[in-house]
Symmetry: C2
Subunit: 205 residues, 2 copies
Amino acid sequence: MEFSSKLLQDAVNEMSQLPGIGKRTALRLVLHLLRQPKEQTDYLSKALSNMRKGIKFCKSCHNISDVDVCEICSNKLRNDKLICVVEDIRDVMAIESTGTFRGLYHVLGGKISPMDGVGPQDLHIDSLVEKVKDGNIQELIFALSSTMEGDTTNFYIYRQIQDFNIKTSTISRGISVGDELEYADEVTLGRSIINRIPFEASLKS
Amino acid sequence: MEFSSKLLQDAVNEMSQLPGIGKRTALRLVLHLLRQPKEQTDYLSKALSNMRKGIKFCKSCHNISDVDVCEICSNKLRNDKLICVVEDIRDVMAIESTGTFRGLYHVLGGKISPMDGVGPQDLHIDSLVEKVKDGNIQELIFALSSTMEGDTTNFYIYRQIQDFNIKTSTISRGISVGDELEYADEVTLGRSIINRIPFEASLKS
């Protein structure tokens, strides 16, 4: 792509560094900003740089937070003996929006993925193991995505904490509520039969 | 969506103002920036605000340009008697990349679209009519997209300049090179038959 302006070219190049945004999309977005009032671009660029400079992470659960200890961790009404292990803030937001979990979270910041050069030392695993060692925790719930990397990460953490006397569990996999059986993939359907639950228990949830 | 951080929320909100970017995509993009070095966000936010502040438009053709008169308009080797009327810079880039046009452009900055509140006074139509009045131009090529708005804009401009003795033309519509006839839409195929060209002429292009 040849640009008639260096300023335009720089903006498009930087924009197209974002995942899933190619040069054409970047140009469309940048031209949109040009048609809008100058303030919109100011707000966007300031919001991005303020965020990148000022963002903090909760000292306890490593979730994104504006204060040292996030609202969830500092909420006395939540059960601090129950920890849900998740990959990133999006998972926290997703689980929070269900309203079914009243424990705390531990945000790993990713999954072990040798292909992407992410090892255990790049994730917040040590601080999780420390928490378990401290002896206050009763149960860890693994809520990582059900992929090779997710399973590897689960298993790595499990090995580190198996000698401590705590319960571990993983979120259930199965057919989505409202889905037709005939359209489900075989692996999920197979697992949902192996991991069947007592009918009486299903009535409660 | 409930965010655990105001800074994150602001960044996501501003990002999701861009066309085609919803809150979820905005969050994905912003989290990507958080995982990258701080500099990337700096470059992006500076490139955007520099572009918005510093961008200029060519005084002659209204294309985006870093100088008063753009490279195309100031190129003595180009035919300044032939003007191609386009909607925006993307069309200029697309036509330039074909390498088949050696005239100049006139960028309208949009199309007449009452539905979007865009009238003739919002576009660079007056300066085009002035150029025609000055008498230096031999031919105007209308290269707007073939929609109701494009056709309206073409016709509006045509009405303004029809009394001056210049040639007007419009880019040809037809089946794309390499396309199968059976998959073409009826309107395009119909037009391509009505606007057929002498076989000898087709051998030259």
